[in-house]
């Protein structure tokens, strides 16, 4: 009898604990937790591996964990598709309250939302912008054995016969790699719609297409090509930076201005939280990212990847995004691709 009673007490105690724990759980998720983060964190790179978003996500995760700025393990997930639009849709809807899932993105978050063949009804306003961390620049790249010695050679050839050359990039038409590829041509007086552009799943696949002679030139970002420049497989014809790069081995590459093409394109990369991120989580990340930006390890990581440091956090970043939105609207209008 006493035995039975004891068991009963035990059971009800266990049941009570479980119920309490359950209550506790639901409270944590709804109103933001003071102890944030209480579990593992995820940064999503909305592309295949090997491209700029992916590398940036992995660098953030790595330095955050290595310097113990954030003790909880950060994993990076790849969610490719539609130039980032596939994951954007999920992120803006299903994950809107998930404080533990962050996303690295760059101008496509604006472009996809602005262009005519808009594939994303969601833009940066459907996220919580946390910080801009880096800036990178577009690059027009050819194989080392390519007959085109300079960007003007290449563009003259395209001008003469746009069907003869194939350009490629790691994202869909109207998205960033495409803009990087088309922009110099457009400014050079070539009809942007005539230029042949083949889209691949991410910068890595585009690079494979270039190396395998399935594309004559690719538009991508400097950080994707650095390793291949060092190994001597490719040459960079031009960068879309305002002035020459200071990265070792890439100092000689002309900017578009050097070639008489009055244009530049900055690829900023930043990290975003979900739309309904709790204030606790937002403050936590803005603080940690600001600290990250000061770390020597982070600077070393940036150098290694060939990224330039550029930092804006919280509301500054949101303001910057508003300005960028204006600039990209202009480019897209010029290209006839504005929504």
């Amino acid at each position: 009898m006493t035995m039975k009673k004891k068991l009963l007490t035990l059971f009800s105690a266990a049941a009570l604990t479980l119920t309490l724990a359950a209550c506790n759980d639901s409270e944590e998720t709804s109103s933001g937790d003071k102890d944030y983060p209480t579990s593992n964190l995820t940064i999503v790179a909305p592309s295949g591996a090997g491209g700029g978003w992916d590398l940036t996500s992995r660098s953030i995760a790595k330095v955050m964990n290595e310097t113990k700025l954030i003790e909880k393990p950060i994993t990076v997930e790849n969610k490719p598709g539609g130039g980032g639009a596939v994951f954007m849709a999920t992120y803006a809807t299903k994950e809107a309250k998930n404080d533990y899932m962050l996303m690295v993105k760059s101008p496509p978050i604006l472009i996809n939302n602005l262009k005519a063949e808009g594939n994303s009804p969601y833009g940066y306003k459907d996220t919580t912008p946390l910080a801009q961390l880096t800036k990178d620049f577009g690059a027009i790249v050819v194989r080392a054995d390519s007959p085109y010695e300079s960007l003007t050679d290449l563009l003259d050839a395209v001008k003469a016969d746009p069907t003869a050359l194939t350009m490629a990039g790691g994202s869909a038409p109207g998205s960033m790699d495409h803009l990087v590829t088309i922009l110099p041509a457009f400014e050079y007086g070539i009809d942007p719609k005539a230029v042949k552009y083949v889209s691949y799943d991410g910068g890595g696949e585009a690079m494979a297409a270039l190396l395998g002679n399935n594309a004559d030139a690719i538009g991508t970002d400097i950080s994707t090509v650095t390793a291949y420049v060092k190994s001597g497989d490719v040459r960079v014809l031009a960068v879309t930076a305002p002035e020459k790069l200071t990265i070792e081995g890439l100092e000689e590459i002309p900017t578009l201005y050097d070639l008489g093409i009055e244009s530049e394109f900055t690829i900023w990369r930043g990290i975003f939280g979900p739309k309904d991120m709790s204030d606790t989580a937002k403050e936590y990340w803005v603080e940690k990212l600001t600290e990250l930006n000061e770390k020597e390890e982070w600077k070393a990581e940036l150098d290694r990847n060939g990224w330039a440091q550029d930092f804006r956090a919280g509301d500054d970043f949101t303001k910057f995004l508003e300005e960028q939105e204006g600039t990209i609207t202009e480019i897209l209008t010029a290209l006839g691709m504005k929504k």
């Binding site: 994993t75 790849n78 999920t90 042949k196 395998g212 399935n214 190994s231």
Partner: protein, 508 residues
């Protein structure tokens, strides 16, 4: 230094006691990851990256990198060993690369040959693993050149060949197989189009933006379809349970599987090298090839051991082959290798053209450890066969709920959406009616994988050629694939017309 010298140095690294331990840990976790549905090699490796980082934190950076990668790679190829287990025993594919193994593996299990099927899967995986490694050591550089020369036109023609070969998965009626193929292709168009970025057939539902998940459909059609069949037809009440006669394969089994293992290994390895093709396609292609060249194609789908040996060898060889573009070009060919690449980068090691020069210890240490890991897996898996094979003796009334639970858990763990659970149940019911009316489900599943790849590569190729379809015959490799595809379909028809008595899939 010669390749052999590098490899010996690699073995010296792989045989350091802590690296042996890391390899062992990796393959054990990998086997578990493979056996458990839902947690596939991709999520398994991703989850372990932070853990290995902690485990190796005491070591100097280069050594830490080697040890971590050894462990993570162990999980990758270990999962390929374990992936066949639930396919064979429960008709529930745990990984997409094991889907085709269900066709004959489950039938073998029902006939009491579960032990033989599991053993041959392990042995085949081992041999394939070793063949792929030898290929990796000897052919890495030249093959990586071939892999990048594989352009959109070549991919298109190869995938088309796969589709032409789909008749190899047909049951009694080729018409029904074609109907199912088209259904699969149609389902494959759902989602955001990767080439133009336009949403198709999504009706503004974000869950559909990323398309219909292949594994959900496969598990629904195969596993739940079988469950519903048993329930609806009440054949599970007290049917005698298949007795397991023996655990090890017979001499005849071994003889029958030797050639399929060899063919599966080579096919899998070469398909693995191509970025984007991957282990799933390799297993399908291997199965279809075996059925095509077999003397008794009608025995496939009824428990032919070659139908287990060949695809299981192929998916393992493919995982070895996929290391080539990763290590030599820095281009990951599959989701899992993409995550492995992330692990390299975490240690400031950039896989790619410079890896073998800048970090020979890491590269060769990894390759050598994979020889060791494969051997460990064989030794580890053979005794496990005895344990797993017992599952099949569980009475149906216990087994069915387990299969349902595993299917639901597995699908949810991959997709995290309730939509996929409904899709799973829907596919289960559809699977039952398909099976009841002799509509083969394998062609649907294969078409679902192939469809988007065929479409995207065709459009890329046509952009390159300015809309000229001649690009597909102008490229030699592409032409060869197309010719084989045409012959594949025409020869049986011609032979039939000439009145030869050949076994083809007759109209049912």
């Amino acid at each position: 230094m010669s390749t052999i010298q590098y490899l010996l140095d690699g073995f010296a690294i792989a045989f350091q006691w802590h690296n042996i331990l890391f390899a062992l840990l990796g393959v054990i976790i990998g086997t578990a990851v493979g056996v458990l549905p839902g947690i596939g090699p991709m999520s398994g490796v991703a989850l372990l990256i932070p853990v290995t980082a902690t485990l190796t934190s005491g070591l100097p950076i280069e050594m830490a990198a080697t040890s971590s990668i050894i462990l993570l790679a162990g999980v990758y190829y270990g999962a390929m060993y374990g992936g066949s287990t639930t396919s064979i025993l429960l008709n529930t594919p745990g990984e997409s690369s094991s889907v085709v193994t269900t066709l004959d593996g489950y039938q073998m299990a029902r006939q009491g040959r579960a032990g033989a099927a599991l053993s041959i899967a392990a042995i085949g995986s081992f041999i394939a693993g070793i063949i792929a490694l030898i290929g990796l050591v000897l052919l890495a550089r030249p093959l990586s050149k071939v892999a990048i020369n594989f352009g959109p036109a070549e991919y298109f023609s190869l995938m088309l060949l796969g589709l032409a070969a789909v008749s190899g998965l047909a049951g009694k009626s080729i018409t029904k197989a074609l109907i199912m193929t088209v259904l699969g292709l149609l389902l494959g168009t759902i989602g955001i189009d990767a080439v133009s970025g336009i949403a198709r057939f999504t009706y503004d539902q974000p869950v559909l933006f990323s398309g219909i998940e292949f594994l959900t459909v496969a598990v629904g059609l195969f596993a739940l379809g079988e469950v519903f069949k048993t329930i609806f037809e009440k054949d599970g009440a007290d049917e005698p349970i298949a007795k397991i006669d023996r655990i090890l394969p017979t001499k005849k089994d071994l003889k029958d599987s030797a050639a399929p293992i060899a063919r599966g290994s080579f096919l899998g390895f070469f398909l693995g090298v191509l970025p984007g093709a991957g282990a799933t396609l390799a297993s399908f292609f291997a199965y279809i090839t075996e059925k095509k060249i077999s003397k008794n194609p009608e025995s496939f789908g009824k428990g032919n051991i070659a139908g287990v040996a060949s695809p299981e060898s192929a998916n393992n060889a493919a995982s070895g082959g996929a290391m080539i573009p990763l290590l030599t070009l820095g281009i990951p060919g599959s989701g899992t290798t993409a995550i492995l690449m992330g692990a390299f980068i975490m240690y400031n090691i950039q896989p790619g053209p410079l890896l073998f020069e800048e970090h020979p210890d890491v590269a060769w240490g990894l390759i050598a450890s994979m020889f060791l890991g494969n051997l460990m897996l064989l030794i580890l898996n053979m005794p496990l066969v005895r344990v797993f094979a017992k599952i099949i003796q569980t009475p149906k009334r216990f087994l069915l709920p387990i299969i349902i639970a595993i299917s639901i858990f597995g699908v949810y763990a991959v997709q995290y959406t309730t939509f996929d659970l409904f899709l799973l149940l829907g596919c289960g019911i559809a699977g039952y009616f398909f099976a009841k009316n002799d509509f083969p489900v394998a062609p649907l599943v294969l078409a679902l994988v192939l469809g988007p790849m065929i479409e995207n590569n065709m459009r890329r190729a046509l952009t390159i050629s300015n809309g000229e379809f001649s690009i597909f015959i102008a490229k030699p490799l592409s032409l060869i694939f197309l010719v084989i595809a045409v012959l594949w379909i025409l020869i049986p028809i011609l032979m039939k017309l000439r009145g030869k008595n050949v076994i083809i899939n007759e109209e049912g």
